[in-house]
Amino acid sequence: MDGQRLNPDLSPIGVTAAEPLPRSGGNRRVVAVSLAVVVGSLLFVAAQPRLYRSFCEWTGLYDIDRAEQVAASSIPSRPVTLEFDANSHDNGLRFRPETASLAVRTGEIVNVMYRVENTRNTTVIGQAVPSYGPQHAGGYVKKLDCFCFKQQTFAPHEVREMPVVFVLDKKLPDDVNTVTLSYTFFEVPAGSVTSPAAGKRS
């Protein structure tokens, strides 16, 4: 083309060129490559959940607090005696633990049942409140589930077994070898039967 320089202003439309078109491949080839890229991208994104997980596990990023867990697990487990106690507050509820004492190890899941019997002819609503002995051991009792989490309603003469599930933290101070878990059932006065949280909102 260098031989036939044309004034760009005057370059005529429709001059058939002597040279062939500068093709870098037929249209089919460009479309095939493009569609291959599209399919490749789709496969790439489809593989992401698996790749992401493997990458994070390989680099240890998946669990960002794993280091803390490893540190915690390095504390050895040790035996502790648990004692269970129950009191009711002159409200017609007969309340006692099914197990009086238990030998457990720290870091172990403990599941204990408490038994409640309503001796009255009327419905009783109660709330159990825990206390610990020694008092500072309370912070190491990690409860997963407890009947003390909410108010309980007992039909007349109803008997019910209720669980408390917890783990004794391995960081329990070494001088504590016996932990006492004590519950007291208080009657919720009639007329304020909503849960404390709901009561605050209204």
Binding site: P8, L21, N27, V30, V37, V45, Q48, Y52
Partner: protein, 537 residues
Amino acid sequence: MQATQQVGAAGHHEDDSHGHGPTGLMRWITTTNHKDIGSMYLMFSFVMFLVGGAMSLIIRAELMSPGLQYVSPEFYNQMLTLHALIMVFGAIMPAFVGFANWMIPLMIGAPDMAFARMNNWSFWLLPPAAILLSASIFVPGGAAGTGWTLYPPLSIQMGMGMDMAIFAIHILGMSSIMGSINIVTTILNMRAPGMTLMKMPMFCWTWLVTGFLLIATMPILAGAVTMLLTDRHFGTSFFNAAGGGDPVLFQHIFWFFGHPEVYIIALPAFGVVSHVIPAFSRKRLFGYTSMVYAIAAIGLISFFVWAHHMYVTGIPLTGQLYFMYATMLIAVPTGVKVFNWVTTMWRGSLTFETPMLFALGFLVLFTIGGLTGVVLAMTAVDIQMQDTYYVVAHFHYVMVAGALFSAFAGLYYWLPKWTGHMYNEGLGKLHFWLSMIFFNVAFFPQHFLGLAGMPRRIPDYAQQFADFNMVSSIGAFGFGFSQLLVIVVVFQALRGGAKAAARPWEGARGLEWTVPSPAPHHTFEDPPAFDPAESEA
């Protein structure tokens, strides 16, 4: 010739001079002509621009003063989400596809796009997607209110408006992929004899890279939203922590698409400016080769910087450092481009018609947006600024003053070629100056708001932000209403005005200026002679 003059007047179109094909509305529905389709893309994007703009004005009205005035927080969230989705996928991207349709065949001397029928499909997928997105406001639960990033867990919990947004994204993705394959094939295979890749117009180069980015990343977004859909309805747990998934995975996938998307919007804008600045400087583009390499480098690096949107998700320090340095690396090729444009003007014989004004506005404001981008790339700074109005200001400087100003530069630059008439220069300049002033009034104060700690995406704010928000809202309304001038300018140019010469700008180069104005319905049915010595390179 009648045909191109009747752009925008589909209802009362008389038979075109070539005497074939359906007439009236059916002509526009069935057309395979790149000029018709380009015009439809541009009109569609302008309508969407007005819709998305109206939504942003609802947002700015609510933010005019503290407290809740006009809309509920839920509706506010839906507005900001739809504003973003519509502006990105409905306004800016179709606008540049419209430019590509109109101008690439003319620039490379091709008779039409490579796949004319598919071109028609690419366009006609857009209106259903736009209807799905807009109609989602009216379904129970309203439109998606997650922000355009669609992060789970919120996007898993929303109502059916979210599903409509997901399907709209699927349709838009298909349209983009088809359009890109078409453009890439056209550029690679249909250039005039003698036009080698390194001699072709810069706009074609930017679209070649953009087309590749779209083909590679739109399936990523489609995959991500499909996983959202199955999480929502089919019991999977890709992103649901309760089922063993990870919501952060969505952010990685989204931004692996989302960051190249930023350059999908910016690169064609660079291309338009690379034509306008040399034309009005009466010089060749400075450093053509370095411009091409810069475009390719930006396209490539954009795949490796995605997590700079995610500094606060708990990625490790090594990751933060890598993404920080990689992000700053993009400033190098971008800087090459900015300096090349400036050097193109150096000792040029400059005139300041409307296209040049918009290109210069682009250059100044885009550089400001780029600089705040480098600031935000710094991890230590970003952790402080994440999700504040500083980020909002940053990306509006690159999206609005970058992409939109460049689109207006292109509109005024090529309007004489499309309509055969010169536009009203006075109104064009008025449009530029109103846009320039109100844009800065609207968005510059948002830097201060962000630095002072105002979070984004919240309809209410603390009292101390009231003054800057009032200023910003005034700017936004001024900017919004100034854009209505475009309708007047384009309508006037369609109806009449000074006759445009084949090459109305004396400094303009390229094959598109060798065809008469308005461009005939069919051009370059035989390949034109291309003189490499007269190319931009």
